[in-house]
């Protein structure tokens, strides 16, 4: 599933996300790209790795994103945790051409 979300007064977030096949409710893999900033850059992976097995719903996503940003001491410019949760939830199955 993919999404593209341009944060108002912020940056563009692209999400590519796979949910579990049995119940379609937990994240099994996620890639977050875009023109945002995160310091230190190398630690941004912690968000993608940390979202593994997180429920695909707003409260769970937001809690996990906030926790990782705090624990890894990430400074992000271009989106808030709420914006990222929204971008993830906007993911829809891709239409095959």
């Amino acid at each position: 599933m993919k999404s593209i979300y341009k944060v108002p007064r912020g940056k563009l977030i692209r999400v590519d996300c796979v949910l579990d096949q049995e119940r379609n409710e937990k994240i099994k893999a996620i890639k977050i790209t875009g023109d945002f900033f995160c310091h230190p850059e190398e630690k941004f992976n912690a968000i993608e790795q940390g979202l593994y097995d997180t429920y695909f719903e707003e409260a769970a996503l937001l809690e996990k994103i906030k926790k990782i940003i705090h624990e890894e001491k990430l400074s992000i410019l271009g989106f808030s945790p709420e914006d990222l949760a929204k971008a993830i939830l906007l993911c829809t199955p891709m239409c095959k051409p």
């Binding site: 912020g10 023109d35 410019l77 271009g78």
Partner: protein
């Protein structure tokens, strides 16, 4: 504190990014002083931000066909087409009292040098958060920061001229059907020195104006300097092992 100024040099994309990173190492370790560097890119190149997806953003085939270099930056931000522009990098130790600790404020502060540089041409420019500089409400400069090797590095581009159609032939757009509309929008939102002044400004002329801007913004002595042999050696190593490496280019 003095600031070393390294005047305009032209390199390929990988070497330009390798030099920026090599300078953070020597400056961060205290071997070299704070540095302002000006450069251009040959062949023309597209740089993508650290967090951008190469395949989503760039038409690699089209770049190859047109002999356009491709490189991933160590800084975040968006894709930049480096052609008919000037790039600067400004690197200081992160504990330097000249620089604001707050990220957004430090962008605004350093971008102030660019705004002042543009005023040398009679242009009224403004900083537009997060990382842009506008003239007449249109973007003329994009900037990006990283904090690495105990340094703050900010580099940025200033458009001397712009060919939006050419740029879009090299970039991918989310929706091909809307490509025409998107190009029209970008033409509305982006400007260049040529558009503002009705004449071509050379990189050398722009460098002079930007240097004045930095001198005004950071009132310490600037001196003409060069890249040291050990910095050059480090850059050559980073060029080969990192910036020319497919693994780095395809990182995301």
């Amino acid at each position: 504190m003095n600031i070393r100024c390294i005047s305009l040099q032209q390199h390929n994309a990988a070497m330009n990014m390798a030099l920026d990173e090599a300078l953070t190492e020597s400056i961060g370790s205290g071997v070299a002083p704070a540095t302002l560097r000006f450069y251009t890119w040959s062949p023309p190149a597209i740089s993508i931000g650290y967090f951008q997806s190469l395949t989503e953003e760039v038409d690699s085939e089209e770049c190859k066909k047109n002999k356009i270099d491709l490189v991933r930056r160590m800084t975040g931000g968006g894709a930049v087409f480096h052609d008919k522009e000037i790039t600067y990098s400004f690197i200081v130790k992160e504990n330097n009292p000249l620089i604001h600790k707050d990220l957004l404020k430090s962008y605004q502060h350093i971008c102030g040098a660019i705004v002042y540089g543009l005023s040398q041409f009679g242009l009224g420019a403004e900083f537009a958060p997060i990382n842009d500089i506008l003239v007449g409400g249109k973007k003329i400069s994009g900037n990006a920061q990283t904090r690495k090797n105990k340094c703050i590095l900010q580099h940025g581009t200033l458009l001397l001229d712009v060919d939006v159609d050419n740029m879009f032939s090299l970039l991918k757009v989310p929706n091909e059907k809307l490509k025409g509309k998107l190009i029209a929008e970008v033409k509305e939102r982006v400007t260049s020195m040529r558009h503002c002044l009705g004449r071509l400004v050379t990189p050398e002329e722009m460098q002079q104006a930007l240097l004045k801007g930095f001198q005004k913004t950071f009132p310490v002595p600037f001196f003409d300097g060069t890249i040291s042999p050990s910095e050059l050696q480090k850059a050559l190593m980073l060029k080969t092992t990192k910036y020319l490496n497919r693994q780095w280019l395809e990182l995301r």
